[in-house]
Symmetry: C2
Subunit: 771 residues, 2 copies
Amino acid sequence: MKDYITADEWSIVEDGFHAKYNRITESIMSIGNGMMGQRANFEEHFSGDTFQGSYVAGIYYPDKTRVGWWKNGYPEYFAKVLNSANFIGIDVYLGNRRLDLNQMEIIDFRRELNMKEGYLERTFKAKFSDGLVVNVRSKRFCSMVDDETAAIAYTITPENYTGTITCFPSIDFDVLNEDSNYDEQFWEEVSRDVADVRGYVCSRTKKLDFHVCAGMHVEALKNSTKLNLTDLPSSQQKAFVELMVEENLEPGDSFTIHKYAAVVASTNYDKDTLPKVCHDRLDTIAQKGFLTMLAEQNDAWAAKWQLGDIKIDGDVKAQQGIRFNIFQLNQTYTGKDKRLNIGPKGFTGEKYGGSTYWDTEAYCLPFYLATAAREVSRNLLIYRHNHLQKAIENAEKLGFSGGAALYPMVTMNGEECHNEWEITFEEIHRNGAIAYAIFDYIRYTGDQSYMAEYGLDVLIAISRFWSQRVNFSEDKQKFVMLGVTGPNEYENNVNNNWYTNYIAQWCMMYTIASISEVKANDPASYSRIVSSNKLVESETAHWQHIIDNMYFPEDAQRGVFLQQDGFLDKELIPVAELDPIHLPLNQKWSWDRILRSCYIKQADVLQGLYFFEDQFDEDTHRRNFDFYEPMTVHESSLSPCVHVILAAKLGYEEKAYEMYLRTARLDLDDYNNDTEDGCHTTSMAGTWMSVTKGFGGMRVDNEGQLHFSPMIPQQWDSYSFKIFFRTTGIEVITTKDKVVVKHLSGPSVDLFIYEEKMTLEEGGSLACNRS
Amino acid sequence: MKDYITADEWSIVEDGFHAKYNRITESIMSIGNGMMGQRANFEEHFSGDTFQGSYVAGIYYPDKTRVGWWKNGYPEYFAKVLNSANFIGIDVYLGNRRLDLNQMEIIDFRRELNMKEGYLERTFKAKFSDGLVVNVRSKRFCSMVDDETAAIAYTITPENYTGTITCFPSIDFDVLNEDSNYDEQFWEEVSRDVADVRGYVCSRTKKLDFHVCAGMHVEALKNSTKLNLTDLPSSQQKAFVELMVEENLEPGDSFTIHKYAAVVASTNYDKDTLPKVCHDRLDTIAQKGFLTMLAEQNDAWAAKWQLGDIKIDGDVKAQQGIRFNIFQLNQTYTGKDKRLNIGPKGFTGEKYGGSTYWDTEAYCLPFYLATAAREVSRNLLIYRHNHLQKAIENAEKLGFSGGAALYPMVTMNGEECHNEWEITFEEIHRNGAIAYAIFDYIRYTGDQSYMAEYGLDVLIAISRFWSQRVNFSEDKQKFVMLGVTGPNEYENNVNNNWYTNYIAQWCMMYTIASISEVKANDPASYSRIVSSNKLVESETAHWQHIIDNMYFPEDAQRGVFLQQDGFLDKELIPVAELDPIHLPLNQKWSWDRILRSCYIKQADVLQGLYFFEDQFDEDTHRRNFDFYEPMTVHESSLSPCVHVILAAKLGYEEKAYEMYLRTARLDLDDYNNDTEDGCHTTSMAGTWMSVTKGFGGMRVDNEGQLHFSPMIPQQWDSYSFKIFFRTTGIEVITTKDKVVVKHLSGPSVDLFIYEEKMTLEEGGSLACNRS
């Protein structure tokens, strides 16, 4: 755990340069706008340790699979998030001195991600070896308004220097992925040009033929007065263009470069038009100018915060943590484009690759349901409907048939691109989360039409998969599911993982019920679905037979569900009794030792209790939580949030708060020693859930009714969050002794506070004592 | 399965060139002498498909591990068998026509591995595009007498040509491994020289600094008359030297190159002396001359066959198969050097890497026990004793302590170099085989001294491992062993694999018994062992406690041992009921589907019954065989032999014969479609066991008494095998109705035929009717 980020309610601040944490800071302070994003790299040359990254949504590379031992069924490639054109570069010389913080004495340094207004700012004062002192201020952002553009204002103020300053703003498309499997260059140049105050490079990916064009437009100001730049000197080489801006300065003069950047991709335009589109975008933003763009950016973020802010009083670190999570989520996915999804690292790094895990459905959907337009969540669901045929093909590859679908563990385009057999082929509960998201979406939004239009196709294909994936055990006289990996990836290839068996059974039940409902209420759609899916009655009858005879491992004596067959053969020793030198297990223990231990990476049985809460009484919840949580090491970023929600429900306030800090500040404090690779973007939605569903006790029940049962950690004075529930905007404010629910917009709504039914009138508010 | 090899009792013959099988033929016809070996590549240039390979015993490379996802505990490298200097090359030109079978019309072609005399011969007649016809005969061998040398006689006889013939004999050390993880060049040149009729190249491996020096000495003959060659023209480049021999020919003239080669390594000599040692070896063999060397080679092989031949009458393919297996084993390991072991592909390919698997102990040892000097087997055992410290370190890396040892799955120098977690960390039964080999060796040889001298150190360390690897299950009130992979690698990470639990328990029992025996009979050694191993009484008491409370999964109803917990949850469908389109499973099914199926790759429970035969009555054998064999797909080369032995014992003659053919002709008929990578060398010893222990019913019981109970497959007229039992040479001849056991050498011996005790007198023989 690190502790170098300054606590602040609205900003992430690094005071003083922490060179050895630079990769971490670069991850944390990444900026993006849903269409593109980049790590918080420096604009000027930096010879120290850095991890350069600029990413464009939906642009990826099928990197040839690298494994030690090939297993049948492995995909041929792993879809890598692609490092794309670096458009921030501004190489700066004072005379022949090159600005490079790694070679200078740093007198002051501050880097700030301003989350309120949506920009990254860096100021520093540094001294060259000959005593020349220079002040620099850079501010940049990826525009939320013109989402194919970005802008940088870079100001240099030498203190004791008379002479020329020379700046080289550039577009550099000669970039590599650090995690390339075979040190391959993924891009090749298509065209480039540099003239007047502009330059661009277009490149294509060597496979899949994605084209990206990145361009720049340069302005310069001396002491805030715009200079009349034309026909700047330039140079170019393969996949690289730069302009040169030169000026003479006296001590105290300031010199500013405004660099406007546009990045456009063949996913949205005809390849051949990209340079033109790029120039058009540059026209638009250069005309607006930096300050107008910045003002628009502030407004756009204000609107985001207006909808989705969470306020915490009395605990700055907790406040900073939650805003950081909300900010990064909004930077990563805006829901405008249904071909996109929420990558595991957003635009903050390249590790893990792929863009879509079960994280989207299990952890991210609730955030977007409550804080964004319904279309956003719907698009997340339709994304999987669009991939249904690929999921069916994936299942066929593994020996399933008849329209059974296995959604991939990781994907970019619907095809599986993961290659660890114990995950790729066995962590099949992901199919359940995709079905659950349909249920969750309809329950929250009331959008019943989704089921007939899209939902059932997916549910039928998933139920078909489960019905083939189980087999009848003569020995148990029950249906069993062999060889799976549950959410707890510290177990591999187990039999009868309770969570997987449960969600499989639930999927089939939900599918049968949904078929009945559509049949009753929408016969035309029913006929279409039956026909297009070639659904026959004997099929659902077989599902029902499986549902009625599904096996679930239990420990009757303890009254807990068993994570899997044989779990009780392990030595059951709580994490608390383990010498801390063994933690984290994933760094200290060999894999086999982890596997045969009782230790749990993330909620497994408890994930099921979280999803299907109302199917189990509170004692069952408590017994299972008390049994499993003490053996849980929370070494997945997705673990703490579920435990906050369950602990809060059970009244375990301390545990809830402990888990909350772990999820909210996971990246800020680098809990898992891996933030340098990028942020844990998908788990950030879990942090949001920790506050709303956890402390706020927010639920939507199966009848679509909204509930709140807030508690408040003793470290906090008060907290509040805003949600959209269907078309009503609501704010929930919880203090030590009161809960106030305020109407913000839309129609009145019935809701429950501490299980007491009330009506929230338009413009009204409800107040209760905290119970 | 392929069927292009001509059946022959003593030779492997390819009649006509089978270009598409060339890699297979190159594997099968590999030659070697225990010190070095090579694939049956062509001497002259060949532009067609070929897999070039020359190997030197004990020379390897630690190739950096390549995995998709790193697991804690993986070794940093995989020890690769190293492709070394190619010394066979003779590039031939007639005028400006380059001899290259891939560019010529082949009129006749024959390649023969003569196993009786130990050489590889190739003859062909081929036509250049201009109509010139040439006859070639090449014969070569790796000398069993001067085992750092080889010799080639290469004769060209043009039919319709007048003009110059130019030959370029070369040493080429600019070689690659096809299976290099990162396309790395493993060698770098140290020195080279070429002068008069000789040339050499010395290279070193970039890691570990192994040096190898390969040299040649060239003679030429015209129409069998030796030419007086001196100061041949030469050329050289990096890691390559060649000489030029030129002669004018008339039609019908024959021109012969004798190429003498020597390969010496820093494993045996000081690096700096290698060129000199190489020249000394060349002096020796050039002085002997090709024909003398060949005569010595014939004699050496005659002696080998004298000891270890198996004759089968009435079934040429079976005869060819068994001799092929014996021949390859003798080429691979001679037992002269206790640093060496029996690589999985011998000198026939580079795949799998490493030199030592549990195959050595479980499958190869019995062959060397019965057909070679006692020293050979003893050296195989001492090899593991020498690696004990590394095995202890390996176990420490995985969290074990107190001198517990886990021997590696694959090794070159005692360090683990395998990297699939389910094998590397979990296929731990290998430890059991290493202990069993000590038992097997002492039982067969009567060499009790081995136990105190070496055996107990290894047994104690192995028992320590088992005692830590089990854990007490509160649920079962027994010791269990979680997360293992048994011999059947079509199951991974299972709990309570019966075989592993059984051999673990047996190891601890055998260790305790052996400690007692040494204590009673050799108190001095006992004290030394107790002290050097820091053995305390409480430790053996704890082992005994585990022995007494070990858990074994069983199916009481069927009366069979269960391969592992939960085995009965599978769908138990015999292989015979599976549509053959699904076979082989390892090519047709995804890994998860294989894992959750009931299908068995190789003997698992049955491996235990084979090892510990006398612990179980025949009904138990039969019930388990009848239960498991029908679910066994034999997709490991190590599978059929154990089933021959068990089937023969149970009187399942057809099954025994079916399995025998599968093991004996595995490579000759390319059953598993992978002989192109090299031969399955270790399983060849299993073929030998199939005849002796299987059909011959040979056993040595726990009292060290020899037994035979021969059966004969109906396809055979008779068969015979020779063994050494302690110091007595014995031949067992079985016909349809008789068994004759003949004394060959050494003292008289008591033995059992069909469980009737008899005495085989010196010079005598025993005859019984077949029962």
